[in-house]
């Protein structure tokens, strides 16, 4: 990549600087008009793209068919929380998702460190293995795991799905952590080794301490995957009070397909946590997790 960028290291910039001031002034008026055209275009596209999300939010706060309220209302939300197990589902989702995030990062960070620092065949083989595993359809593991977990009493159990979520986020999470650790210069660690620090010590005290952005991106990735999962939940969860939100929303939707305002109120409950996470941490958000890691490594 860098070779392409600096193909003409001498000739390019020298010519560019001499003329750039003039060009910029000439461009400015036409440029300004172009900017506003592009603004209008992107605004139109964004509005169209977000229609499904806006519809969800609007309906959630619109009075239902049997309601006497008018205008904006929290009635649907209140109905959903009073009439269904929404609070339980929300709690179940939060518990499984947050446990997944914690354990996944705790497993992926040390493994990512080995992947980043180790240069042996075994380490690169493990890295390939992780890549292959993340590309396999979860449906293949789900059936054998269902049988195994049934024998262990882990079907219809939040611990059961949490274990699967950790397993399925861990592969990509390890890659993401490794890619981040690659960016931490080993000279920092060498300094601590000279001071008598062990490798484990430098990992926890030097590398981890400087890896908050990498840990946060990995955590966001695991959060979204666990929060949004439907396939594992539909296979492993059976009873209403063990449902996570995807199952709750879906079962409620199937039973009350015409009561759109309530369905959407529940949908908003489910949508809110990922949007809050995204809104507060979006600078650490890396789409698809492994995408950035692959591109970066």
């Amino acid at each position: 990549m860098s070779t392409v960028l600096h193909a003409h290291p001498e000739s390019g910039p020298a010519l560019g600087i001499a003329d750039s001031g003039k060009t910029r002034k000439v461009l400015s008026e036409a440029g300004m008009r172009g900017r506003w055209w592009r603004f209008a275009l992107i605004l139109a596209i964004t509005v169209i793209v977000l229609v499904p999300i806006m519809v969800t939010v609007v309906l959630a706060f619109t009075p239902g068919a049997n309601s006497t309220a008018t205008g904006f209302t929290f009635e649907n939300l209140a109905n959903v929380f009073n009439g269904t197990l929404a609070a339980t589902w929300l709690q179940n989702s939060l518990v499984t998702t947050l446990s997944t995030v914690l354990v996944s990062v705790a497993v992926a960070a040390p493994a990512g460190y080995v992947l980043s620092r180790g240069r042996s065949k075994a380490v690169s083989g493990y890295s390939l293995l992780l890549f292959v595993m993340q590309s396999l359809p979860i449906i293949t593991s789900v059936v054998p795991l269902f049988i195994l977990f049934a024998a262990m009493g882990l079907v219809d159990n939040l611990l059961g799905i949490t274990i699967i979520y950790v397993g399925s986020t861990m592969t990509v999470a390890t890659w993401m952590m490794a890619a981040y650790f690659d960016s931490i210069p080993i000279s920092l660690e060498e300094a601590s080794w000279i001071d008598g620090c062990s490798v484990f010590g430098s990992f926890t005290k030097v590398v981890l301490r400087n890896s908050l952005p990498g840990i946060l991106s990995t955590a966001i990735f695991a959060f979204l995957l666990a929060w949004n999962d439907y396939l594992v939940a539909i296979v492993f969860l059976r009873s209403n009070e063990i449902f996570t939100l995807p199952m709750g929303v879906q079962s409620f939707f199937q039973q009350n397909a015409t009561d759109w305002t309530s369905v959407m109120a529940l949908a908003v409950v489910m949508m809110l946590p990922p949007i809050i996470v995204f809104a507060t941490l979006n600078k650490y958000f890396s789409v698809g997790g492994i995408g950035g890691s692959l591109a970066g490594r």
């Binding site: 900017r35 499904p52 484990f200």
Partner: protein, 320 residues
Amino acid sequence: MSSTTATSGLSRARRGVAPGGSGAVPGKRKSKLSAQTTRTFFWLLLPSVVLLVLIHGYPLIHAAVQATHDGDLLQTGNFVGGENFASVLSSPAFWKAAQFTLWFTIVGVFGSWLVGLGLALLLRTRIPAGNTFKVLLLLPWVVPIVVSSTAWNWLVATPDSLIPSIFRGLGLGTPLFLADPTLASITVMVFKVWVSFPFMMMMISAALASVDTTVYEAASMDGASKWQQFTQITLPLIARSTYISWILMTIFCVNDFPTIYLLTGGGPVSATTSLVVLAYRTVFQDFATGPGVAIAFLMTMTLVVISVILYRQIRKSSVE
């Protein structure tokens, strides 16, 4: 993990980054540190390996067993050899699902890439509040599929939904987006593109951000047209990340379950049944565990081969 390779690896890594340091470390101390390093690496990797074996390794082997037996979800049953594979491979439903998966993947990958590329190029220019749009346009990727599929259902499912009503108002008839087999396939694919384009947009934006803009100034001074700049400069510069994003999106599309299942359930008349949906239905609705796992296993084998080949190529391109 062999101890010698791992330790020499670490010291090589250290030498690579800080060439001055390697000579300064006395040989004795280095080897002590190395043995210790290997042990540390082993413990650091152990939890990950255990999980990988439990959640990925064991199920894969067990799936191979199930695919060759006539059992159900409770017992393994009798060994039937390749019978399940034979019955799957000779069933029209399998090939129909394979065909749908192929189209779904092609449209999903290239549709989302084109939309993502267009938006990434647009957002790269100076636009008022450009960053806000960038964040807002990522929402389809962030919002749970359960939620967005519900919203799409509200928009298109019945003749009185919003979008069919708009079509009717424009005198274009009343399209049955989820009831007509062809239209349902198209709708699911459009939904997939809607969900996935932010991924492409983000990947391409990241690649574009590292491009030095003076390259373009030089090119336009040399008389290159906008189109030439796009094909000669932009595309080659984002080629690597484009390639990676195609691979990953292919994997995401082939493995996709909720996007299809939640919008159409695989219908109407199995028109939108992909291989994963077929495997799910075969196991959990028809209770034919053997054939269902055989379908999943065939997909798995195909994906293992594809991903190993592609991984090698990505690695090769990163060395260059």
